[in-house]
Symmetry: C2
Subunit: 230 residues, 2 copies
């Protein structure tokens, strides 16, 4: 069982802020069907195409979300970190997962049946608002990414990726990451080789420095310029 949520949802220090507006009774309802899970690095939380029964809330670790293409190419569309839940667009539409979720490192999560949350949406307007806000935010990031990936070339896309990681995922610069070059490539919609090459030019131009699994952005304004010029 996940240490952070030992005492049940009510006293869980790790609960996602969308649960802030729930009453004790409502939290109990969530608690009663909650399942704690633990994943090792690389393990699949759920897979694209599979039926969705639960909402997944990440209490520790890091999860990447990616779309799997036909020719086993991947596009990472985002990360979910503690404490947040993974938005499942299929829950309201076709009861299917539309992307795969994989743990990037040791990860704990709570699973809650979709019906329970859907009920809360109906009974608690504040919860409904948080929920819609969350979906909207994800739609906006999808739009941002689709714009980056389709309209910029390699340096601009990698700049976007690095800025995204520093500001949105790790909230730190330098940041320590468990992501491989392949992951960086999958985030930027390019091949591993292209990712390595463009990172090298960034290093040569002293825009970034990489020490082992630590990445530091040295010249963010320049990276932003590169992002803007595609």
């Amino acid at each position: 069982m996940n240490k952070l949520s030992n005492g049940g949802c009510l006293h869980c220090k790790a609960k996602s802020d969308i649960f802030d507006h729930l009453s004790e009774e409502e939290l109990d309802r969530v608690e009663s069907c909650r399942v704690s899970m633990h994943y090792r690095a690389g393990e699949i939380v759920f897979k694209q195409g599979s039926p969705c029964y639960d909402f997944v809330c990440i209490t520790s670790g890091l999860v990447k979300l990616y779309i799997e293409g036909e020719n086993d190419r991947r596009l990472i569309i985002g990360f979910v970190k503690p404490v947040d839940y993974i938005f499942v667009p299929g829950a309201y539409v076709d009861k299917r997962h539309h992307y795969t979720a994989v743990a990037c490192e040791e990860t704990s999560a709570c699973l809650v049946e979709t019906e329970v949350l859907q009920n809360l949406v109906n009974t608690n307007p504040e919860f409904a608002n948080s929920f819609i806000k969350k979906i909207s935010s994800q739609a906006i990031s999808l739009i941002t990414q689709i714009a980056s990936v389709t309209q910029k070339q390699i340096p601009g896309r990698m700049a976007d990726t690095l800025i995204y990681l520093a500001t949105k995922v790790y909230n730190s610069n330098p940041f320590i990451t468990s992501l491989s070059r392949q992951d960086l490539a999958d985030l930027s919609g390019m091949t591993k080789e292209s990712a390595i090459r463009v990172l090298k030019t960034f290093k040569d131009d002293e825009l970034i420095v990489i020490r082992g699994d630590e990445i530091e952005l040295l010249n963010i304004p320049m990276l932003e310029t590169i992002s803007r010029n595609g």
Copy 2:
């Protein structure tokens, strides 16, 4: 004023089905702040980056939604046709439009203040469900498109575009369209020239036939195969 909705929202034959679950009183609330608008082909309904005050419901015509990139490239992310409203992800987040909406042909629309709809979400659970379902569906189409545009090459993307138009937008085959080659290119994430070339190969291979502004898909299974193989 829009002919279809002369008698107000209550008797509007053109109302979006998400309004189906509203009471008379609720429909009156919508009615009281409704503004009817008319747009000519090519006119902007709202522009990416501008503040959003209203939800827009299309009562006749057709609207395209596109992301504007830095280097004035465009990516069409969808169409809105009667009777449906344009989902505005910024309404719950940053009060900004994240894409541009342009009328493809003569188009009528009703504008409703965002606050009014947001209120309905809070007071009417059924409405909230329809609303979330709508947002979720759009997120799913964004995911589908991002997968197509990033992981397939030109023929696969154009096949996706043609199938999308026939099955999701015009619901007919053949279909008559006011879209230009540039629009087809913007939908598929390619240049106008590439769009023209790939359409020519499709015509030569007797997968499609184009007569003026009518497009007919002759061999949908083959187009689906092309889509699958990227």
